[in-house]
Amino acid sequence: MIRYDVIVIGAGPAGLSASIEAAEAGMKVAVFDENTRPGGQLFKQIHKFFGAKEHKAKIRGFRIGEELLAEAEKLQVDVHLNAAVIGIHDFNSIAVVENEQVSFYKAGNLIIATGASENMVPFDGWTLPGVIGAGAAQTMMNLHGVLPGKKVLMVGSGNVGLVVGYQLLQAGVEIAAIIDAAPKIGGYGVHASKVARTGVPFLLSHTILKAEGEEFVTGAAVVEVDSKFQPIKGTEKHFDVDTICMAVGLSPMSQLLRIAGCEMKEMGGLVPACNEYGETSISGIFAAGDVAGIEEASSAMVGGRIAGAASALRDGFIMQGDFEEKYKALKESLNQLRQGMFCKENRGKTDMTATEEGIPLSNSLLEKGYLLEKEIIKFPGVKKKAGVHPIIECTQNIPCNPCQTACKFNCISIGENITALPVVIEDSKCTNCGMCVASCSGQAIFLLNEDSEDGFVSITLPYEFLPYPKKGVKGIALDRSGNRVCEAEIIGLRTAEAFDHTALLTMKVPSEFAMSARFFTL
C-alpha cells in the first residue's frame, strides 16, 4: 500500500491550503478529489472575495483556486482527480475509486476537507426536473457555461442565494424573485443590494408552496407565512418560471469522518469534535473547512493551513516553536474573519439594531434588499463633497477592507478592525481612478460628481453584465430597488486589468437623482 505523510481528502479551499502547508513543511502529500477539476466550490465562485489581503480579498474565487492549485503543484503535491474516496478504515487507510479500480492508500495524517452539501426542504413538486440546488445552478453556468434555465425563482436569501442569484443575472438568466421564509435577508446586505438594484424583488416571510408542471417545472406558487412560519391564506402568488433554485443552507459532508469513527457533535449538521488545530477525536485525523463547520471559503483556507501545520508538527516535520508562531498568525487571521454582525455568535440573532459604530441598521435593506436614501446619508462612507468623490454604501459590519488599500490617495479609511465601516475622509482628494469601485467585493462603492454640468451629475457604478452599454447610449437609471427613476446617458465606460472584469460605467443623470440613481438599463 502506498503511504503518504499526509492524505488530504477534498481539493477545495481547505484541502488545497492544507496540502500546501504540509508540503511546505517537507511532507509527502496527496490530495484526492472526486471531481474532474480541483478547487472545490472555488471554481464556481466567480465573485470577488471579502476579507483582507491575506485572505485573498477582492480576488475572484476561481482565481484563488488557480493560485492554490499552482502552488500545490509547485510543491509536488500529488493531486488525484476523478478519485472518490469511498471509505476510511483502520489505521488511516483509505479506499479510493480511481481509473476504474479501487485502490488503497495509507497516511500518517488524514486531513478531511470534504466540504458541505446543500440542504433541501421538501415541498409539493420538489422532485420535478427544474427544481435544482443553487450549487447545481453554479455548476451548470460557471463550470460548463450552460444556462440552468431562462427564468428562475430563488428560494433562500442567505449569501448562497444572493451570490448565485447575481451570477444567474450575469449569465443572462431572469430572476422572478428571491424568497425566504425568514422575515429578514440572511446574507450580506451588499450582496442583496447588487441584486435588488437590477430590479429583482425580495419576498421575505414567503415560502414555496408548489412547483408546477407535469414533466418539468413550468411555474411556482409561493405564499406568505406568519411569524410561526404558517402559510397565510389568500396570499398565494404565482410565478412563471422554468427553474426553482434552492439555497436553504449547507450541511457538512461528514460521512467519511463518521465512518472513520470520529466523535461527532451536532452543529447545524454533524461536525467532528475537534481541538483548536482541527484534530478530531482520532489522533492523526484532522478536519478542515466546511466539513468542520460551515463558514466562508476564506476561513476554510486558514483552517486548512492550521490542520496542515498541525499534521507537520505531529510527525516531526516542523518544530514546536515554529508551529506556535505559525499558528498564532493563522489564528489571528481566522479571528479577523470571524468578526462582525454575520459571525457565528451573531448568526440567527434578530435583535441587532445598530452597527458597531452605533448607526441604526437599515430595515429596508434587511427586508427588501435595498437601502433607503434617508438611511444611507447617516453612514460614514457617504459624505457630500466637491468634485468627484466615492459614495460607499457599506452599512453592515462585515470582515472586509480592500477599499482602504485600493485608494492610493487616502480617501477611504477602515482602520485596524476590518469589520469597521469604511469612512470617506473629508479633506482628501479623489482622483476618479475608480480603484475603490472595482475593488469593492460588495459592489457598494459609487463615484459621484455633483459639479459636472448644470443640472446634471455623473455617477460611476460597478457593472458586471454583458453587453456593456456604449458611450453616448441613452437608457434608464434605476434606483436601489430597481425602479426606474429617470433617463440616463452613458458618458464613460472604463475597463482595466486592475479592475478584474468589473467595468466602471459612468452615467449622467439630472442632479436631483444624484443620491437615488444606482443602476443603468437600456
Binding site: G87, H89, D90, S93, A95, V102, F104, I259, G261
Partner: protein, 376 residues
Amino acid sequence: MSNQCADVVIAGGGVMGNATAYYLRKKGCSVIVLEEEMLGNGGSSRNGGGVRQSGRDNRELPLAIYGIGNIWPHLSEELGVDIEYHQAGNIKFAKDERGVEFYKKVVEQNLKKGLELRMLNQAETREICPLVSDEIIASCYCPSDGHANALMTTLAFYKRARELGARFITGEKVLSVKLHKGRAKGVITSRGNVYEGDKIIITAGYESRAILNSVHIDVPMRRKLIEVIIIEMQPKIFPMMITIPDYDGGGYGHQTDHGSFVFGGHIPLENYLRPEEKEVTQLITTASNCNQLVSYFPYFKDAKVIRSWSGWTDLCQDEVPVIGNIDEVPGLLTACGFTGHGFGISPAVAACLSELAVDKEPSVDISGLSYSRFIM
C-alpha cells in the same frame, strides 16, 4: 431509581426478544423488553435473511422445520407488516468434486430427518438459476427453504408486540440478573434501574454472556465479524437464496423484493481482528465480497455496490445455540449463541421461549440445545 415489574422481563430487543414479547403478549403475559441501543441493532438486522432448514445441525433442524411449516407462511398477515417471506428455495453451489461430495453428505443427513433436498447437475442448476457461472458443476437444492427481510421481521415483531401492549425501553443496558431466594427475579441496568419479573429471558446476542456471568452462568461463545454488501436494484433475477460453501470462501445472498441484492461473504482475517475492534467494515472485505460474488455470478460485474455493513455473529462452541431454561437458576431463560444462523429459526425459538416462560411444554423439542450440555 425506578422499579418496574412485569410477568416477564426480556433483555435484548432483537428479533428473539421482540418475537418472544409478541408471543407472550398473545398469551396474556405482561412484558418489558430492555434494549441497550435501538431495536434490532445486533445480529437480527445484520444477517443474510435466510430462512433455511438445509444443512442445519440435527439439534436445531426441528426448529427450522417447525417455523417454515407453521409460522413463516402467515407471519406477514399476522403481524400486519410485509416481512417479504418467500419460500423460494436455497441452492448451494459446488465448483468441484470436493463440493459435490460435501453436499451429497448433507443431502443424505437431512433426508434422514425428512427434509426434501436433492442434488442438481450443472444443467439442472442452470435451469433454475440461469445466471450462475459456468464453473459451477452441481448444486444442492432445497425447495422448501427461503428468505425474508430480516430488518422488517425484527421491527414487525416489535411493532405488533408494542401494539399489543408490550413495553419496550431502549437505552437500557442490562448489566446483571437479580436474584431473589435463589430464583431469577429481575435485571439491573447500567442506569441503576431494576426491572422485576417472574421470568427473566436473556436474548442479548453476544452480550448475553456477560449478563449471564452475573449469576455464574457462562455460555462458551466468541464474536466474529461478518460483512455484507448491497447491490443496487436489479430486475427480477432469481428468487432463491444462494449459498457458497465455506471451503471456497463462503457466501450467501438473495434478491430482496425491492430488487437490491444482498450478499455476504468471509475473509480469513475476520478470525484475527483485534479484540478492541469495533463493528466496522474492514479495508479489504468489500472488495473480497465483490470478487466472490462475481466468481459465482459474473452477471453482477457492472452492478454497483451502494452500501456495506458489518455485524457480529456470536459463535457458540459447538455451533448451535443455547435455548431454554437454565436449570441452575430457576426463572432464568436464554436464547443466544446462534452462530450466524439464528434469524431463520427466530419465530420458532421465540414461540418455544414463550411457552417455557409460562411453564408449558415447548412445541419443538429443544432439549438438545439446553445450556446443560456444557456441564460435564
